[in-house]
């Protein structure tokens, strides 16, 4: 009787107990360190550049004449160009995007809305070089025709290209904001007898407005940082400032220059790595980074405040023609949806008809011959090598950073880290490329190499992984945390055994999304990794072996050559690139649906 309850004297098998997980902290620390260090490198490169020669800030910000041989470094015309191009993009994109978002979330049945929404999200991930190609082939001639000007390289063309690029981003984020509004508000408003338009205006929009506003700011951040698509159609003429309103209208249909196109041109290569010329360029870079960071931070802040904005709309009296107005609103909003849909179909049609060579297997498996012949095997291999290496470096670092942001106890530190990550994610990629060029190629003495290309792509991917991971960790059910901690797990063990397995699928989704974005990046590779001719499919060395990549291949073909064969080649390559991106995205979407990871369009 007395011994029945006695336990076995031997301790439980030590081997099956979790080992201490000291590596967890060093690893998550390395992740956060990587984010901070990368941001520091970009900012540090700019600040070091500025301090390497004196910058006349007043001239840089208020003078319009840029002429390095005459030691004139005035950036006002570039700032003007950036402002005009972004304003144009927003003016064109915002009404359409908001209308389309309302149509998607408020008017269409989910059966129709869901696939459409997915198409919009896919559009948001089309590489910008493809938009640039469309800009050259379609928008330049249209502007030349509308404005009755020769050429068509103009601020207007750049604005239109950017508008097309940011519409999907704004639609996707706005739809998120709208669907976040609980249905009970709509039901309550409908039960008061309001028309659909009135329901949206008085019940839905007030709640969704902060989210929709931040959608615009995120779109703006993308427009501000875009280099290559603008570079191809803006005309790159310095020193244009209108003096009158007529002059302003006139300047729209004529060539201009923006901050990003100035930096993507040959001048960073010519400026060396010190002196007033280099300092002035770094000054422009800093101005650009400040604009983008402001838009990004403001945009994400607005989202945070979220639905707390519950101001009741002012009473405007009983309107007349309620039903007619309701119909009109519906017509306009569904019409607004038609535009992105038409855009998508048009783009697809263009890609499929012009890029039909991509459907020929030999195009994928033979290497290029001459300037515009053969296939794109080497470019595909180069692109895969670049994104593979990028993923390998970015995955552990981004995952570590995401875990730490997600589980960190202090809300304030977590928010700071998250903001840093978002700013890094929004940093114009042309700045990453230049920082890579100056630091890796000039200072460290690497040549153009695949590794340098992969390293400059890492900051593109890390934030996407980190944000996807941290969002997933935050959505972890509290029971899971509590039961884990009540078992007596240390924090490190908790992370290893509970958080990591839980967040892992979201991380993979983030990785695929980040790589899809990295695959289409052009600007950073131009300066660090790719060459015009002669790079073998498989690099023979590490830091002195350039590769060829699809985005830069398309860039060269579309910019340099008017002959039909090169154009066909460019479209074919664009099609291949879109297909590669689409594969990565579909894998990400499939994963997301399987594991209910975070939405990825933000």
């Amino acid at each position: 009787m007395t011994t029945t309850l006695a336990r076995d004297a031997a301790p439980p098998d030590a081997a099956i107990r979790p080992r201490p997980s000291k590596w967890v902290w060093s690893w998550t620390g390395a992740g956060v360190f990587a984010v901070a260090a990368l941001l520091l490198v970009v900012v540090g490169y700019l600040v070091a550049g500025i301090s390497s020669g004196s910058v006349d800030w007043t001239a840089l910000l208020t003078d319009a004449s840029w002429s390095p041989p005459n030691a004139a470094y005035g950036g006002l015309a570039m700032i003007y160009g950036t402002a005009v191009v972004c304003a144009l993009a927003l003016i064109l994109a915002v009404p359409v995007s908001w209308g389309a978002a309302l149509a998607l979330s408020e008017y269409l049945p989910p059966r129709v809305a869901r696939p459409l929404r997915m198409c919009v999200e896919l559009l948001a991930a089309v590489p910008s070089i493809v938009y640039g190609l469309i800009g050259i082939m379609v928008i330049r001639p249209v502007v030349a025709w509308i404005g009755d000007v020769p050429g068509g390289d103009s601020l207007l063309a750049a604005g239109i290209v950017l508008a097309v690029m940011i519409t999907p981003t704004i639609v996707a984020v706005s739809v998120d904001a709208l669907t976040a509004v609980p249905d009970r508000y709509r039901e309550a408003a409908f039960s008061l007898g309001l028309t659909r338009r009135e329901v949206i205006r008085s019940a839905v929009l007030p709640l969704a407005r902060p989210g929709m506003r931040s959608a615009v700011l995120l779109g703006l951040a993308r427009a501000l940082g875009e280099a290559i698509a603008v570079f191809l159609v803006v005309g790159r003429a310095d020193g244009r400032l209108p003096t009158s309103f007529d002059g302003f209208l006139h300047s729209l249909v004529h060539p201009g220059q923006t901050l990003t196109t100035k930096l993507a041109g040959p001048e960073p290569v010519l400026a060396g790595t010190s002196g007033p010329y280099f300092a002035a360029l770094c000054g422009l870079g800093l101005v650009l980074l400040a604009f983008v960071a402001a838009a990004t931070i403001w945009g994400t802040r607005g989202q945070k405040r979220g639905t707390s904005d519950k101001r009741a709309p002012a009473f405007r009296g009983a309107p007349r023609m309620r039903v007619e107005r309701d119909r009109l609103a519906m017509g306009l909003r569904l019409g607004a949806l038609l535009l992105p849909t038409a855009l998508l179909l048009g783009m697809l049609a263009l890609l499929v008809t012009r890029g039909s060579s991509a459907f020929n297997p030999s195009f994928w498996f033979t290497s290029a011959t001459g300037a515009a012949g053969g296939g794109v095997r080497d470019q595909i291999v180069g692109t895969l090598l670049l994104i593979g290496t990028t993923g390998l470096i970015a995955l552990p670092l981004g995952f570590g950073a995401g875990i730490l942001i997600g589980v960190h106890a202090s809300e304030r530190v977590a928010r700071l880290l998250q903001t840093l990550t978002i700013v890094l994610g929004g940093a114009p990629t042309i700045l990453l490329g230049l920082a890579g060029f100056v630091i890796l190629s000039s200072i460290m003495g690497w040549g153009r190499s695949w590794l340098a290309g992969a390293i400059v792509l890492v900051p593109v991917v890390i934030p996407v992984i980190a944000l996807a991971t941290s969002a997933r960790v935050r959505s972890m059910p509290p029971e899971l945390t509590e039961s884990a901690l009540s078992l007596g797990l240390t924090r490190a063990q908790f992370i290893r055994s509970v958080v990591v397995p839980y967040a892992w699928p979201a991380t993979l989704t983030g990785l695929l999304l980040g790589l899809a974005r990295a695959a289409g990046e052009t600007a950073p590779l131009l300066f660090t990794a790719t060459v015009f001719f002669g790079a073998p499919a498989f690099p023979s060395g590490v830091v002195e072996s350039p590769v060829q990549a699809l985005p830069t291949h398309i860039f060269t073909l579309s910019q340099d050559s008017g002959d039909p064969q090169a154009v066909t080649q460019a479209w074919g390559s664009a099609m291949v690139l879109v297909l590669i991106t689409a594969v990565l995205l579909s894998a990400a979407v499939a994963l997301r649906n399987r594991f209910e990871g975070e939405r990825w369009t933000t």
Binding site: D153, R236, P266, E267, L392, G445, W446, G541, P546
Partner: protein
């Protein structure tokens, strides 16, 4: 299970980064085993690319890049990023002053002419010849209609080459001599272009356009025309004799005397076979200009 895999991946990638950093430090500017890197002028690039292709059979690995044009090539050579700079302009004193540590050695490989290119429509209507003053006024935005210089009633659209391009420096030299070129005009019909193919592409798609461009890039393109300058055509004889005002030598530039693969490459371009590449791309061989 998971975490072990995770840790392995982490270790592997850390090792990769460290290894690459170590290689970088070890290699430094010494060159290493990588390919021979050639970069610079888009005018010289087709010749270099063909030569590289031909030498591939001999096991030589040569890459050709064109970021930044002639001046870009020279500055990358000075920074030790490449072994050979392609240039379509002679080295300027500023280039030498900017990098006193570099022992620039130019090897001329041929010669070329920059033409003032107009569209066929403009040429057919009567613009066959331009004087230096007319060219200056065109590029400074003072002449805005072709009728001023005897052409059709059509707006002028100027495509200027971006800074650092050899073509642009040849034009500047023709117009301004040794004086510095002024800042770009505040004219509306003025845009900047980069490489030669881009220039040709934009010239073709823009009515009334004019641009400086290597004459070899216009050969066989019936919708474009080269004008004579002060009555002198860009004929081989005029280029060889130096009579044509916008002729220019084409160079390979190295840091110190060319050695090893760089020497093999340059020597190949100087052989009869290599010089044929100059002819193929519309340039003059050394023999044709009497060197």
């Amino acid at each position: 299970m998971f975490s072990t895999k995770r840790r392995l991946a982490h270790l592997a990638s850390t090792a990769l980064v460290l290894a690459s950093l170590a290689t970088a430090c070890a290699d430094g500017k010494a060159g290493g085993s990588g390919a021979l890197q050639v970069s610079g002028s888009t005018t010289v690039a087709p010749v270099a690319a063909d030569a590289a292709e031909a030498l591939k059979a001999d096991g030589l690995d040569i890459t050709v890049a064109t970021q930044g044009g002639s001046a870009g090539g020279i500055s990358q050579l000075a920074a030790g990023q490449i072994k050979i700079a392609m240039s379509s302009k002679p080295l300027a004193d500023e280039d030498k002053a900017a990098s006193p540590d570099t022992d620039f050695q130019s090897t001329q490989i041929g010669s070329d002419a920059v033409g003032i290119i107009v569209t066929k429509k403009v040429a057919d209507a009567g613009v066959k010849n331009l004087t230096v003053d007319q060219v200056r006024d065109l590029f400074e935005g003072k002449i805005t209609n072709w009728s001023v210089v005897g052409g059709p009633d059509l707006k002028v659209f100027v495509y200027d080459k971006e800074p650092g391009r050899g073509t642009r420096e040849v034009l500047d030299k023709y117009i301004y001599g040794d004086k510095k070129a002024p800042a770009p005009p505040e004219s509306d019909n003025f845009a900047i272009v980069g490489g030669n193919l881009e220039t040709r592409n934009k010239l073709k798609s823009t009515p009334g356009s004019v641009a400086p461009l290597s004459t070899s890039f216009v050969e066989g393109h019936k919708d474009l025309a080269v004008v004579t300058l002060d009555g002198i055509a860009a004929s081989p004889e005029n280029i060889a004799s130096g009579k044509y005002p916008m002729s220019r030598p084409l160079y390979f530039i190295t840091d110190g005397k060319p050695e090893g693969t760089a020497k093999k490459f340059i020597d190949y371009v100087l052989t009869t076979k290599g010089q044929k590449l100059m002819t193929k791309h519309g340039y003059l061989t050394l023999k044709e200009i009497g060197k």
